[in-house]
């Protein structure tokens, strides 16, 4: 494919609001993971909670009010992103700009709250619960499109933890097929008990802090985040999406193929799509959830495609696993790495698992970074690898 310029991007996670906060936390090795109280959670685990956003939406959006849409709106207000969207709208017309948002659970926390408030006699849900505008998976994409007055193809992609990586692929396809001229892509997922207790039921939530690739890693730390980017074929931007690869494991619903065949195929497909050789990639931002199964399978896949010398790391020791937002968060980190000539270490990793052969960074590295691959994998065997690069 022809490189597709990234006109603007922004990210908000437990590391802070906006790109600078993320760059500072990466540079300083400051994790966003905390042992904090969330809602009525009783599980002993580390969480990553975004600060300062959880206030009711403005009156005109009150039907849409829920934690996930609050986080979306807060995220849109960072880094001058609204101005960049306004310019894009002026250039193409809102009708020609698509909106592709990844989320795994949208506003399901609102449903949890509504179930606690069921009428004891009738069992009915409270009047304030608006399924369409909060719980429904499309809610966040619809909300973003309406707030920004964009009317191209508008959809939510929900493929678990690959959701907001796959938005880049879908948006690029839509532009190439002529369904829109430019696109806003993003991902928003917010803390809820459904995912906390759900992942806990699968014994994937660690009581320890997330330690990707560590010999003694014991699972994920769940986080929340919002991030957005503009794909604009005519932007004079320093960074572009060079390629993407999507595959299905066809193996198991909630465990990765231990050999990493599907993951390797996604990485290879992204290289082929970009006409880039594996040796040209400077750094790989791993999916690296900190589960035994993921990190081992992903290392095998990386070694299949890249060998054992390409520097790589997971940044989930900083951000936790932001699930449906992980793709956009790590795409943003990949772009920050290119901007700053920086490759982050695998934070919280004490002793690298000796069975992991990939070149996981245990120290930060400063060097020119021109091409970065970012991996995102999800339940259902959904794999997506994105390749970003500095332009010329």
């Amino acid at each position: 494919m022809k490189p597709l310029p990234i006109g603007a991007f922004t990210v908000t996670s437990a590391l802070g609001a906006g790109r600078d906060a993320h760059w500072r936390a990466l540079r300083d090795g400051t994790t966003g993971l905390r042992k904090v109280q969330f809602d009525t959670n009783t599980l002993d685990c580390w969480l990553v909670e975004v600060a300062d956003f959880d206030v009711p939406l403005p009156e005109q959006w009150s039907d849409w009010d829920c934690r996930n849409n609050r986080l979306a709106l807060f995220g849109l207000h960072q880094d001058g992103f609204l101005d960049a969207v306004a310019k894009l709208r002026a250039r193409y017309g809102g009708e020609r700009v698509g909106v592709f948002i990844g989320t795994s659970t949208s506003g399901v926390q609102q449903t949890e709250l509504a179930y606690r408030a069921r009428d004891p006699e009738s069992g009915r849900l409270p009047d304030w619960f608006k399924h369409r505008y909060t719980q429904n998976i499309f809610s966040v994409a619809d909300f973003v499109a309406k707030v920004l007055d964009l009317g191209g193809p508008t959809l939510a992609i929900s493929t678990a933890c690959s959701s907001s990586a796959k938005v880049f692929a879908s948006a690029r396809r839509a532009i190439a097929a002529g369904a829109c001229d430019a696109a806003l892509v993003g991902g928003v997922d917010s803390l809820c008990l459904t995912t906390l207790y759900g992942f806990n039921s699968l014994q994937l939530v660690s009581t320890d802090i997330c330690r990707p690739a560590d010999a003694a890693r014991s699972g994920i730390s769940i986080g929340e985040a919002a991030g957005f980017a503009l794909l604009d074929p005519n932007a004079d931007a320093p960074i572009a999406m060079l390629g993407y690869g999507e595959t299905s494991d066809a193996y198991h619903m909630s465990s990765p193929d231990p050999e990493g065949h599907g993951a390797a195929a996604a990485m290879q497909a992204a290289l082929t799509c970009a006409s880039v050789e594996a040796a040209e990639v400077d750094y790989i931002n791993l999916h690296g959830t900190g589960t035994m199964a993921n990190d081992s399978a992903e290392s095998r896949a990386v070694c299949t495609v890249f060998g054992t010398s390409t520097p790589c790391s997971s940044t989930k020791g900083w951000t936790g696993h932001t699930l449906g937002a992980a793709g956009i968060v790590e795409a943003a980190i990949a772009m920050l790495c290119i901007e700053h000539g920086f490759m982050p270490r695998s934070l919280n990793t004490r002793t690298k698992d000796p069975t992991i052969d990939a070149a996981v960074l245990l120290e930060d590295r400063y060097a020119p970074v021109r091409k970065v691959m970012s991996n995102s994998f999800g339940f259902g065997g959904s794999n997506c690898s994105l390749l970003f690069g500095a332009r010329a």
Binding site: G123, N136, F138, P153, I157, A174, G178, T194, Y197, H252
Partner: protein
């Protein structure tokens, strides 16, 4: 938006009350037999491996039933197809069970429920069942999910060169969610789209964005069905495909937006 490039429809599948499969639906949509409302038993799809069949939810079974109906009518290898699964709400039965469990002490969320709760559960089971390793997108666009799915599937064909299976499906939720999201009936609709015209091709499609009202169905019961499930927003398109006629329909793409689909049978 000007009309895009064409994609070819290789096969159609459906499962809905009174429209048990494409063969039956085709007769009704051609006016050769009257529509007869019928209670719809939960489908028992054939392609789920025994292990997965045991755990598969009603939602997964409806998606499979619709997909298998199209697959049977095509000589294409399902393992080679990319896929798009379009559903407004996927599995509200599970959301109901998990949300209820979270109000109890202690909170016990079933691990099987949780891994089946992901919006892409049907896509995951499908890829396992047929060995499909190609790209697969699962999306939601509320009542506009069929049009969004058709656009994504067309883009997979046109931009990435994959022959693609589109499956749209939704199911009525249990109470108390039904009051908030009254999906009236179980339904699934599928299309197989190809880049090249093939001997089996039924028609070509070209999509464009318009601000026009959606096409309605002349038969009142079919019009009721069209409103009863987001997947059945496809009915006006299926009617043209059943009739083997050229024409143009508008499918709902947003509150005030439509997706115009121009249909042309092979010349």
């Amino acid at each position: 938006m000007s009309a895009g490039e064409r994609v070819w429809v290789e096969a159609v599948g459906i499962t809905a009350p009174g429209l048990a499969n494409w063969q039956a639906a085709r007769e009704v949509l051609r006016g050769e037999s009257a529509y007869a409302a019928a209670d719809m038993p939960l489908p028992a799809p054939q392609l789920l491996p025994p292990n997965e069949r045991r755990r598969a939810t009603p939602t997964v079974r409806v998606a499979f039933q619709a997909a298998e109906d199209a697959i049977r009518a095509s000589s294409l290898d399902p393992a080679a197809l990319a896929s798009v699964f379009a559903s407004s709400d996927a599995d509200l039965n599970i959301i109901h069970r998990i949300s209820s469990a979270l109000t109890q002490t202690p909170r016990f969320v079933s691990p099987t429920d949780f891994h089946n709760s992901v919006h892409n559960a049907a896509a995951g089971y499908w890829s396992i069942a047929v060995g499909a390793r190609a790209p697969s997108t699962t999306l939601s666009a509320y009542d506009f999910s069929f049009a969004a799915g058709l656009e994504e599937a067309s883009a997979l064909v046109l931009a990435d060169g994959f022959d693609t299976l589109l499956v749209a499906f939704d199911l009525p939720p249990p109470q108390p969610l039904f009051e908030k999201r009254p999906i009236a009936c179980i339904a699934g609709v599928s299309l197989i789209l190809t880049k090249a015209r093939r001997p089996e091709s039924l028609a070509s499609l070209r999509c464009s964005h318009v601000h026009e009202a959606s096409t309605t169905m002349a038969v009142p019961q079919l019009e009721e069905l069209r409103h009863g499930n987001p997947a059945l927003a496809a009915l006006p398109l299926l009617e043209l495909l059943a009739l083997g006629r050229s024409g143009r329909v508008v499918l709902p793409r947003g509150s005030n937006a439509g997706l115009a689909v121009t249909v042309e049978p092979p010349s």
